[in-house]
């Protein structure tokens, strides 16, 4: 009898949970129709002031709101980064008001859990049911590629401010006519610059350790090609590739120590970052062997979780430098820090910038973005002052940015962040080559690192 009672209770509990889960369509925190606000908040970097919006509103009749769908991993191993991306996006609309060109802009955030198959199901929902005009894409390159392929024939604009697979705006660009990387970057774009900088510092022999997947291949390839073409040497046997998700990099670190090189280029993601930094310090290499980090490796999302002494003084390159002394950057950093009590990572800056591109583009189109091709052309014509610095798009839809050489320093409040020690201005995705030269070579892979010496 008690057993049956327990069963009934259990069944009721499950039913109750399911009902709670689906009983609030649209009423939950992840589905937001942000009310138009006219408060000019401190983080405002857009050229659209509240006053302009009201004047255009009088001119354009906007029957339907512009709808934006944001796909991010909000659960699973990437939840922290995906959460930053979501927060940056939402903060932009809260700060700057969710109207443009007389239209309300509404958005919906969905959780992919970092799984491409789930993302493909959910994007159908966003496009077919929700009626999204713009999809802002995912964190992972593989999910981004899957989404780009699914969306290429659909009547939407697909923006990827984080997923950085090189070929989407390079060799494959013609396949994805509705794709733009506004607010984003290509993986090798930032490591090209570091290759040049490393050579100019006098480093001649460099070993690399990168995660063994497409993003690691592209980051490492970008560094290796520019560094070796400048005259440096990267011995192919001294390019180490560790599996994605490794958390015991001690053996790799001892190998790197034994190579007798001038410096090491490192690119790790996720839990491998703190493991590599920890080993680097424990093996006593922190002060003897310079480490040059790829962008994500020393992003504030990673370094805020490790002991400060392991990262202070490390050099990396990136299109995001939270310590950049520019008003647009510092306004954003302060707004984000004030709202969420943490220094924003590049994930947050990326979705903020994507939102900025959306608002500015809709404004420039007068609220009508039904002509997707014309909208993308308009977007390419914008020159924005973003938290990344000045941003314009090249003809392939990829931003041309200032790329920063960054150093990790301690702030007055005891937290660590990246400050700029050198700037390469107007770096496009092909730098220092021309587009034709660059596109003639294959995309970086384990087999092709663009190594001039070998």
């Amino acid at each position: 009898m008690t057993k049956r009672l327990m069963r009934v209770i259990a069944l009721m509990a499950v039913l109750a949970m399911v009902l709670v889960a689906c009983g609030t369509p649209g009423g939950d925190e992840t589905t937001t129709t942000a009310a138009p606000t006219t408060t000019a908040a401190p983080g405002t970097t857009a050229t659209t002031a509240a006053g302009d919006t009201t004047t255009t509103e009088a001119m354009v009749e906007c029957t339907e709101p512009i709808k934006v769908g944001l796909l991010q991993p909000l659960t699973g191993g990437l939840a922290a980064s995906g959460g930053d991306a979501k927060d940056g996006f939402e903060l932009y609309w809260e700060t700057n008001g969710s109207t443009a060109g007389g239209c309300d802009i509404e958005y919906r955030v969905v959780d992919t859990a970092g799984n491409p198959d789930t993302a493909l199901q959910l994007v159908d929902e966003l496009v077919d049911n929700y009626g999204a005009d713009i999809i802002v894409g995912e964190l992972l390159a593989n999910v981004t590629l899957a989404l780009a392929d699914r969306l290429k024939d659909k009547d939407v604009i697909f923006m990827s401010p984080i997923g950085s697979a090189d070929d989407l705006t390079q060799r494959e660009v013609a396949n994805y006519p509705n794709f733009t990387r506004a607010g984003g970057w290509t993986s090798s774009q930032t490591s090209h610059v570091l290759g040049d900088w490393a050579y100019k510092q006098g480093y001649r022999n460099v070993a690399t350790i990168c995660t063994d997947y497409a993003f690691g291949h592209e980051m490492c390839g970008g560094f290796t090609q520019v560094f070796t073409e400048a005259g440096g040497t990267v011995v192919p046997a001294q390019q180490l590739w560790n599996p994605l998700g490794s958390t015991d990099l001690g053996t790799y670190v001892t190998q790197l120590d034994g190579f007798g090189v001038d410096a090491v280029f490192a690119l790790q993601v996720g839990a491998s970052v703190s493991d590599l930094l920890n080993n680097w310090t424990n093996f006593g290499l922190k002060d003897s062997l310079p480490m040059l980090g790829g962008e994500v490796m020393l992003d504030v999302s990673n370094i805020r979780n490790v002991p400060a002494e392991q990262v202070l003084g490390l050099i990396s390159s990136g299109h995001w430098a939270e310590g950049l002394e520019a008003p647009a950057t510092q306004d954003f950093v302060e707004a984000f820090d004030g709202a969420f009590d943490r220094i924003p990572s590049y994930y947050a800056a990326a979705t903020w910038t994507a939102a900025q591109y959306i608002q500015e583009t809709v404004e420039a189109m007068g609220g009508d973005i039904s002509d997707r091709a014309a909208t993308l052309e308009t977007m390419k014509g914008l020159a924005l002052d973003t938290p990344f610095g000045p941003s314009v798009l090249d003809e392939y839809g990829n931003p041309i940015y200032d790329i920063y050489i960054r150093e990790v320093v301690e702030r007055d409040d005891g937290r660590v962040w990246n400050v700029v020690i050198d700037t390469y201005t107007n770096v496009d995705q092909f730098w220092p080559k021309t587009a034709d030269e660059y596109l003639a070579q294959p995309v970086y892979s384990r087999d092709f690192q663009g190594n001039a010496g070998g």
Partner: protein
């Protein structure tokens, strides 16, 4: 023809209602929901293939996604890298799935229990590892795109009907398999391997056959899946994909064919619909599993059929009428007799 018992009539009625609902779905629901129904049907077929091993042979596998991913990659490779037509894609996919099944079965057929779990786990992870390493074949993390459904099922609703038809046929074949003498001897192995050996059966060979049949249906699910998403990447082979299949089978009711299908529908629902409204949907899923394992160890179908049987019993004891249903309960629903070892 013998008149159907009450249980039989109810089951037939439910089956007809389910098929009727399935046929009507594209007229009622949006393309998104119909896409999810396709996904749930495919996930259900996949979970059934796991259940054939786990529920009938007593061999829990954690590597089934490896086999279906091999088939999916067969389609993806032929479409993306070779540029072959659909017949060649499917032929290669099924062959690859069966070859993988044969190799895996040969490795695992002499084990059982936790050893079988560990070997199949390793097998699945090998497929996952290869899918990440063999860039030229699998495209590594980036996966394979450029897969297109044949024109006659290119629309989402056409593909839905196609999936429904294939899954119905496969379910029917599985139904025949588990009720045949072959199915009976499979259950014999689950109950007592040594006794089956005494009776002259070769348990290892029997396991090999079951593994092959299971692998065949997993391959079909893999092929349906890759044409649904028109994309395949290593996450399809990862352990979590296998584990979800096992959980679907357990949730719905292991040792039944309809149970895994019901489990699949529930999981797909939570993953795709609840997740848009509830950020902590994995917690909800975890709670449901805990509740089911604690209070309904034979899954949802097991709990329902046990309740139904109790209702019949109490009705009979009230009316004192003939015992109509006891013999008629098909073997695959007779849970009380199949306690796990």
């Amino acid at each position: 023809m013998r008149r159907l018992s009450l249980t039989g009539r109810v089951k037939l009625g439910l089956l007809v209602a389910a098929i009727g609902f399935g046929v009507a779905a594209p007229y009622i629901f949006s393309s998104f929901i119909v896409g999810l129904l396709s996904l749930a049907l495919i996930a259900g077929l996949f979970a059934m293939s796991i259940d054939l091993l786990a529920g009938y042979a007593g061999l829990v596998t954690l590597g089934q996604a490896g086999i279906s991913a091999v088939a999916s990659y067969g389609v993806g490779y032929m479409a993306n890298k070779v540029g072959a037509g659909v017949p060649a894609q499917i032929l290669v996919a099924i062959t690859a799935g069966l070859v993988a099944s044969a190799v895996f079965a040969a490795m695992a057929m002499r084990t059982d229990g936790v050893y079988f779990i560990m070997i199949t786990l390793a097998q699945g992870m090998i497929v996952w590892g290869l899918s990440i390493r063999l860039y030229q074949i699998t495209g590594a993390e980036n996966g394979l795109t450029g897969i297109e459904r044949p024109s006659f099922i290119s629309e989402y609703w056409q593909y839905y009907y196609f999936v429904m038809a294939v899954v119905l046929i496969c379910s029917f074949l599985l139904f025949i398999a588990v009720r045949s003498p072959f199915g009976a001897s499979t259950k014999g192995i689950r109950e007592s391997e040594s006794r089956m050996r005494m009776l002259g059966y070769n348990p290892a060979l029997q396991k090999f056959y079951v593994f092959m049949i299971s692998g065949f249906f997993a391959s079909i699910a893999g092929i349906l899946f890759v044409y649904l998403n028109e994309f395949i990447s290593p996450s399809a082979a990862y352990i979590s994909a296998s584990a979800i299949g096992v959980l679907e089978a357990i949730l719905g009711g292991i040792g039944t064919l309809i149970g895994p299908m019901i489990g699949a529908f529930i999981i797909v629902y939570i993953q795709n619909i609840v997740s848009t409204n509830l950020e902590r949907w994995p917690t909800l899923m975890g709670l449901i599993f805990i509740v089911v394992v604690l209070f309904a160890r034979k899954g949802i179908v097991g709990a329902i059929s046990a309740g139904w049987q109790r209702w019949l019993d109490s009705r009979e004891s009230r009316s004192g009428g003939p015992v109509e249903d006891l013999d008629d309960l098909p073997d695959d629903l007779a849970f009380e007799s199949s306690e796990p070892r």
